[in-house]
Amino acid sequence: MSAAPFHDLIIIGAGPAGANAALSAAGAGLDVVLVDEAAHPGGQVWRAPAAGTHPPPDPDLTRGNHLRAQVAQAGVALRAQTVVWSVAATQDGFEVAIASPQGPELIGTRRLLVATGAQERVVPFAGWTLPGVFGLAAATVLLKSENFLPGRRILVAGQGPLLVAVAAKALKLGKAPVAVVDFNGLGRWVQALRGFVGHLPSLRQGLTWQAKLALAGVPILRKHAISRAEANDAGALGAVHVTPVGGGTPRMFEVDTAFVGNSLVPGDEILRLLGARRRPDPLTGWRIEADDEGRCKIPGLYVAGDAGRIRGALPAAAQGTRTGLAIARDAGCALSAAPAKTPRRMDRFADASCSLMQVDDARIAGLADDVVLCRCEDVTVGAVRGAIADGAQDANQLKHFTRLGMGPCQGRMCGANAAALLRTSPGTKPGGDVLTPRSPLHPVAVAQLAGQFDYADIPVPKPAPL
């Protein structure tokens, strides 16, 4: 096989962190390849609307449009609609295996920046696998890309700033939620206000949304959570039961659509596959071990944005710029400008957001046996408890015993919750709560990997001398 093309820098993820890193590194003179699954840069939060969709003005849309214009003008090679399915360290850098509409490719790079963002963490409940139950972040994706939400009777539940955002935007689309179910009490929000003043436009936006929900008479149940969901006759979501946190009489809401989300976790599989380690973080659960400019302990490997530590889009963008410059400096580029630090007030804002999205292990430990933990393989909490009782001591053993994390999502949906069950069970291995990531990092069709080739192109090695 011919040698893979070799670059100064490959960046995986074209969200606020990755795309801004690409801009600063390319601006300093590096040859940069920016890879993303989506058709356009922006990531999840600054995502581009689908062609023909015209969502109302929004700060995230403005930021995304600005970013996309910058990337288009900079000398950055954008590889859109491209899935990274494997990465490996080589003697002089890294080799990245990608699959795109053009077929499979191996590309080499001296340095690698992982800016793969975050995934949503949902605290499971009986019935959370029913069609009609969606992630809270899923609602924001549909709103941003399609200016649309499904459903007639909608309920929004979970934790954090997204709750209010999604409920208010549903209201604006004429789909006033039947109820907003907030795990946190008002006291937690008031505490968070001290941090939210760190970004006044966002705070103003949040307060406006709250006011509009109150004016429209949308009930907000504080310190409540969904305890279970029921199917309708067609096998999709028909109703949810909502219970006060700590116990009490459940209330039933007949709904066809529920948006549920509790927290965000770093999408750090590629980093861990290359040997980067997680470190406990009091506010966000964990972070990837890296220095202030995004250097991991593995030479040539960098991280920026939520993939390393949950901070949100604006800090991710600032960090991306900083890491891009750090990479350029490490590569020997002479830089005139010193990278700016993320303003402290942005950090306070991120801390406040994260404080509203905390999930204590005890909540997962308190789930009933019949709740599905691993959606892909239908592995229940009871099955996991049984496996631990049978001797499974860490996450990989749980996988062997139960198939948890072995399905197509590869533990992205269940990993954090399975880890909480392991940590709260006696007899398990301390520090063994994380599934080892494996290639392929995403399901890829064999046809996609084989690509188009001619048999004449397959090199035939010289026969060994007799």
């Binding site: 009609g132 969606f134 892909c376 239908d378 992205r412």
Partner: protein, 86 residues
């Protein structure tokens, strides 16, 4: 509807707008169940809408593809069935 195109879902025609994702096109028509889970044959639909959970991976033009990451195309053939199960 501008740029109206047509796809088929389980051989029935479905009108949608060019540019939208297959998942959005189905949800807009109140089609919530996309497939059943392989282990328990439980009904499943789109969940994360950002390509991570794989719940919306169904047969699109003869290949298992994520409905949330695939844009509709005129004449596209969608079958509400997932890998190794319905």
């Amino acid at each position: 509807m501008t740029d109206a195109i047509q796809i088929t879902v389980n051989q029935r025609p479905l009108a949608c707008r060019a540019g939208m994702s297959v998942a959005a096109a189905l949800l807009a028509q109140d089609i919530y169940q996309f497939r059943t889970s392989p282990a328990r044959r439980a009904p499943r639909g789109a969940f994360c809408l950002m390509g991570a959970c794989q719940e919306c991976a169904i047969m699109i033009d003869g290949h298992i593809q994520r409905a949330c990451q695939t844009v509709v195309r005129d004449g596209m053939c969608v079958v509400l069935a997932g890998a190794s199960a319905g």
